[in-house]
Amino acid sequence: MIKLEVVKAETLFDKIWDAHVVSKIDGGPSALYIDCHLIHEVTSPQAFAGIEKRGISVFRPDRTVATADHNVPTIDQHLPIKDKLSRHQVDKLTENCKNHRIELYGLGHPHQGIVHVVGPQLGLTQPGMTIVCGDSHTSTHGAFGAIAFGIGTSEVEMVLATQCIMQPKPQKMRIVVNGELNKGVTAKDLVLHIIAEVSVGGATGYFIEYAGSAIENLSMEGRMTVCNMSIEMGARGGLIAPDQTTFDYVLGRKNSPKGENFEKAVENWRELKTDEGATFDKELIFDAANILPMLTYGTNPGMGVKIGSVIPELSAIKPTEQESYAKALDYMGFNAGEQLIDKPIDYVFVGSCTNGRIEDLREVAEFVKGKKKADNITAWIVPGSKQVEQQAIEEGIVDVLEEAGFRMRQPGCSACLAMNDDKIPSGKYAVSTSNRNFEGRQGPGSRTLLASPLTAAAVAITGKIVDPREV
């Protein structure tokens, strides 16, 4: 018999993970080294209190970057925050960063914004890194070929204390989307389509790699939108192998490698891909041609349909899930089997770490140019960061929006989770470009329908649910 020397084919995920394991407990978690730690005001104060209680300092303060986003107002940011608790939380972040020598992009700073918009645009997010943040949408950064995922506050404390966290290695899933997206179909529709197929818990325990021509053809903003929503099917995170699109985006940013160092980095980054023959624990294949503009009708992101189709009948739902399904429709004020098209809408929210980037605002502006906002719609357009806001002003996007009857607010998480005053009133319908349609997510009693920025723009103009391709 001829013995062949076998070089083990590895997945991209394995390559990055294995390169960051400091030590492993047999049959247990690994101590995983973290390259970049992002923090914000809501999930960090207890972690700082924890290390102070232990009498230790931040181990590698230069590997943590902070911004204030979840709990900040989106108007009059130059004034003191009115809500006492919110102000205290934001002040606490400032105090903690000062005491522990951590770079902070607080309110008013030209780099302030939603943590997952700030990281990529400053070049903090780079291929091959491990990135964590006390926020489940940290998966966004996977778009650059990084292992990025959300953590709890105890884990934030671990990173502050040791630059490591204890993590069990997840299983691996590959989601391949072949072909080309139809006209008027965006990255958001693509990911809502996948989540509707996989279900809200269907990827729990897995880390996803997205691949295939439809993924490769996405811009970095589009890739971020897809990776961002990995958590909405339960996945630990999702990543995409870096390519020229990635390198072009990273080039020239504040924290990106410069000159010769950039060339050297790109040389290494080109190795960051799944080897041929590497195996995944689960693999799903989609055809981009089947994907159409999507909208959710229920109270989790897996409850989505093509805009033109009807809400599924109760009989189409698994018997064990029928009770939850009926409860969700009742909350939304919808009936099984009914059409979504033409239903009147009250609010439109464009923003969040899913769709608050410059490309999203461009798409909205292009669509509403020369049209007028419907009278029944209250529209909140919230840029993902100060940099996005500035760019929108420079590109004339703000003027276009104002002419169409919209007003752009100031950066923050805003109505995505409604921690600040940007709350959708009880019983009102909001078509939202954010990531979660849970009960009360956008304010107690609010009813959220998740959609792409293009669909949101079309709804803002017509005042009702509409397929953006037909406006």
């Binding site: 400091v22 030590s23 407990i25 049959g27 247990g28 978690p29 101590a31 080294y33 809501v42 999930t43 207890q46 209190a49 924890g50 232990r54 181990f59 979840h70 709990n71 608790l85 919110s86 205290h88 939380q89 606490k92 006390g134 926020d135 489940s136 959300g150 953590i151 709890g152 506050t153 105890s154 884990e155 404390e157 671990m158 204390a161 040791t162 490591c164 966290i165 204890m166 069990p168 997840p170 809200v200 818990g201 729990t204 958590i231 339960g234 630990r236 989790n300 064990t320 899930e321 009770e323 939850s324 989770l417 409604a418 921690m419 979660r436 849970f438 009960e439 009360g440 107690p444 009693g445």
Partner: protein, 205 residues
Amino acid sequence: MTQEKFEKKMVEIFQTIASTGVPLPAENVDTDQIIPARFLKATTREGFGENLFYDWRFDAEDNPVIGFPLNDSKYAGQILIAGKNFGCGSSREHAAWAIHDYGFKVVVSSFFADIFRNNCLNNGVLPVQVTPEFLAEIFAIMKVDSSANFMVNLGEQTFTISSTGESTKFEISTYKKECLQNGYDDIDYLISLKGEIETFEKMRA
């Protein structure tokens, strides 16, 4: 693990629990339901229990919602029994803090969201994953007998329905089990690895 590193006991020691439970059969309960975002403005870990499941427990006028299990005097105890995919959504550890602060030591479900499971384990709350059939059996028994008693034995990794003696094994990594049994936490462990972490950094440089 070196014992002397763990004297501070940041986490409570967990061994066995015998208790009645509170059923919450809804599926895909997300952390926004467990603790709504507007209650996340605190800068300490304490006091989240009073807002646990707030929008399901109380109506718009802050009156208790009749029939919600946490408001139902039939049910009490240290064990929360929940439908599948419990704790999905946001990574907010405040959800685990709220559950712990309310008085639950164990959450039973047929399926947990990843981040929530980690957050529980880091706060002395034991997630017990059972089969969908066993979970259905627990709910059925609680319907008949709201004060049904359950036994959770971490050492043996068993969950037992006291009245019928029906028992099931649950999974937990040896490391996490040892942490819970001794009141250790990951931070103590990682601090003990400082030397290795520094060596790792030098090797990569």
